[in-house]
């Protein structure tokens, strides 16, 4: 992340705009000096679907639910796990038993104390209901509560993604007594640092949060009242920030110059999301050519990543050949040199693979890919691949076996999530369920590894495997730009969970 004051923005862009899924906007800090109530008002591209713990989504929806609930663990701005509702945690040697020790000073918004039974009740309910979070707890077989402040998760298999999940939506603590009440979807009982101001909140339109001064972590949250406004349209968001209605919001590169001229502070969040091709059909089920690693490598060498960043993203991005985030374990800078833009070499690889005359393939084209389609058609054409885009509506999932490859833009995340989504056989970004003996060994090893340093090394090896085997053709890390009013500072990073801890008062 860097702060900037220069003039670097020229034309229009779509960059941050595309990232509605990963970006967001914030509004409103009014403040003050000696003890006056500080307020923050900001915009997000999307309201939470529901505030029921079994329906929660990570990402931008967290700004609201993350204020109402405590999660068992937390992730800091470096993506490292930190204590939260659980003061400490430990794995058994076989990584099949996870013990969490809870704080004893937590209470729900209705005044009842939070106990280990509440954690058990919430987790069991998530496991019993089909919803977005069940998969993140799939390794959990049973939950024991030896005393009021200890929770023991018994696992059916080791799961390196579990701790991170407990710092995300799967790890919220609800009040089992009220979870099944219809109000839970709109105004749940939680133990988080804020409560929903029912009178001023309009579901889907504006969420007003009042800080609970009796919350154990209230000092971390400088704003007494926070207003969150979902604004989907990028121009509407920009106008709201510019007019001072919002204290903070994300702006597109093309809007940044105006925002700066209007006296707003711009903060660049580098690597907020990753734009990439997932070369999914590595077994050649529908497109035999993609089963040859040389063809996948040729695709990687046909894309001029630096030029994409410059001309399609106004220089606001970083070329990359790997999908692990630079701030996290598993990332290895030298891997980015693996596939330089080299058409001659790429054509030679195609010829070696027996595809001198090329072949044709199609990919699903939607709102996320439009901006890049022409460039990719050209790049593929340069090495003899005739690429066509099948237009699909935005609600159609592209992560399917209907296409051998697809364009994907997703928010930066932790190594364990990258592995769970992109490398695991049943990962959502591995639609053909590709696997490999060597990879499976690495995945098993990292799942069982309880020593963080050794786990980091395994993540790096998994990353190397993905790059060498060209399972993907990553293109660039996209930079998000936050515009904030003078009283508010954006202090998050690309891997910060999207909750109120990314905002602070500017001193």
């Amino acid at each position: 992340m860097s702060r900037r004051t220069g003039h670097r923005f020229a034309g229009a862009a779509l960059a941050a705009g595309l990232l509605a899924a990963a970006g967001c906007a914030a509004q409103g800090a009014a403040p003050d000096a000696q003890g006056e109530a500080r307020t923050l008002e900001f915009g997000v591209p999307q309201p939470p679907n529901s505030l029921d713990p079994i329906e929660l989504h990570d990402g931008v929806q967290r700004y609201v639910w993350g204020s109402l609930f405590d999660t068992l663990l937390a992730l800091d701005h470096e993506g490292e796990l930190q204590p939260n509702a659980a003061e400490s945690w430990s794995y058994s040697d076989d990584a099949l038993t996870l013990t969490l020790d809870l704080r004893d000073d937590m209470s729900f918004s209705d005044g009842d104390p939070v106990t280990a039974h509440d954690v058990q009740g919430t987790l069991e309910r998530t496991l019993e209901n089909a919803g977005p979070q069940r998969g993140n707890l799939s390794a959990v077989e049973s939950i024991d509560v030896p005393d009021d402040h200890t929770v023991v998760l018994n696992l059916s298999e080791p799961d390196d993604n579990l701790l991170v999940s407990l710092a995300q939506a799967a790890g919220v603590i609800g009040d089992p007594e009220t979870l099944d009440a219809p109000e839970t979807a709109l105004d749940p009982v939680g133990s988080g640092p804020y409560t929903l101001n029912e009178e001023r909140t309009q579901d889907g339109t504006v969420y007003v949060l009042d800080r609970r001064d009796d919350h154990w972590n209230a000092d971390t949250y400088p704003f007494e009242t926070v207003t969150i406004r979902p604004i989907q349209d990028r121009t509407a968001m920009f106008n709201s920030v510019l007019s001072g209605e919002l204290d903070a919001g994300t702006v597109d590169p093309a809007q940044a110059e105006h925002a700066e001229a209007a006296g707003l502070t711009l903060t660049e969040v580098e690597g907020a999301s990753l734009a990439m091709l997932v070369l999914a059909d590595r077994d050649g089920t529908t497109t035999p050519a993609l089963a040859d690693v040389r063809v996948r490598q040729a695709v990687n060498m046909a894309i001029d990543r630096a030029a994409v960043v410059e001309s399609l993203h106004h220089g606001l991005g970083t070329p990359t050949a790997q999908i692990f985030h630079p701030l996290t374990a598993g990332h290895a800078a030298e891997l980015d040199e693996t596939y330089p833009y080299d058409l001659e070499h790429a054509r030679a690889l195609m010829a070696d693979a027996g595809y001198e005359d090329g072949f044709s393939m199609s990919m699903p084209g939607n709102i996320m890919s439009t901006h890049f389609q022409a460039t990719l058609v050209q790049a593929f054409d340069d090495i003899g691949i005739e690429l066509t885009w099948d237009p699909v509506p935005p609600q159609t999932s592209t992560q399917s076996t209907d296409w051998p490859a697809y364009w994907n833009i997703g928010g930066a995340t932790t190594p364990s999530r990258v592995v769970a989504q992109f490398y695991a056989e049943d990962g959502s970004n591995n639609p053909f369920g590709t696997s490999d003996p060597k990879l499976r060994e690495l995945l098993d090893a990292v799942a069982e590894e309880t020593d963080p340093e050794r786990a980091d090394d395994l993540y790096r090896q998994i990353n190397e495997f993905g790059v060498e085997q060209a399972w993907f053709s990553p293109v660039l890390w996209i930079t998000t730009i936050w515009a904030t009013a003078e009283d508010v500072e954006y202090v998050g990073s690309a891997v910060s969970p999207m909750d109120l801890r990314v905002f602070d008062t500017a001193e």
Partner: protein, 313 residues
Amino acid sequence: MIPYIVRRLAAGAGLALVITLIVYLLIGTSFEDVARTILGQSATPEATAALLEARGWDRPILVQYVEWLAAALQGDFGASVYTSLPVLPEVLSRLAVTLSLIVPALLITATLSIVLGVWAASRGGVVDRIAQGVSVFGYIIPGLLLAIGLVVLFGVQLGWLPATGYTRFGDDPAGWARSITIPVIVLVVGGVANMSAQVRGRMVDELRRDYVRTLRTRGVSSRSIVLKHALRNAGSPALTVMSLEFINMFGAALIIENVFALPGFGNYAFNATLQGDIPVMLGISTFGVVLVTVVNLATDIANGWLNPKARVH
């Protein structure tokens, strides 16, 4: 009269049935996509299958439609697949927002159009050219551009009006008026451009009719001829234009509400369509059809009152 109204409403209901079935068939094949969208990044094949089963989406499309229809006939339009909130109350509250925008816009449009159209037709000359100029101006300015321009001027630069957002009338009437001012202006500009030209054209025709000449020879004042005779005859087509304008504005709300982040019907429809929220799309289609039917019916009845020849028996 009553059998006529019943017939028309029944036709509207039939139309709603056909349209919802078409909507259902058009989108119904993508339940798996909906399930994947709900699950997001944790959409493993097993999780997707489990969700499809839990929600009953793995059953044949037509079975699901018939079930939806049976429930809808009893007033239960189901719940959003994403938020689990019931569709009916949400549609009604969204409609209230959109109508609170469209009704004032329509009244202002009608008033301005009649004044402008009548004035232009009866005075002619410079006045007529000004009126036509206004009309052409309204036509050539794209609504979206006008909306953004007005927001930048009044919302961002001058700070007189909110750039985005909606205040409920019940919470703060003045705030409500401020929040709808720019959207209403945008709708009125487009509406007046269309409707004033229609009123003017019709009035010009009426004023050339034989009965007008007869009235003049009898010494009836120009004012009386224009306002009492010609305008009443021109009123009927103007009313039809007004009903079309209402439906137009309903369509325009889809864009306007997004530009101003207003929680209306158009915004609801837009998001539901983007996400493939099937029960919401069906609820919206049903209410859209019902609304258009009712407006058309009301227009026909009002036309009958204005013009005995158009009266139904």
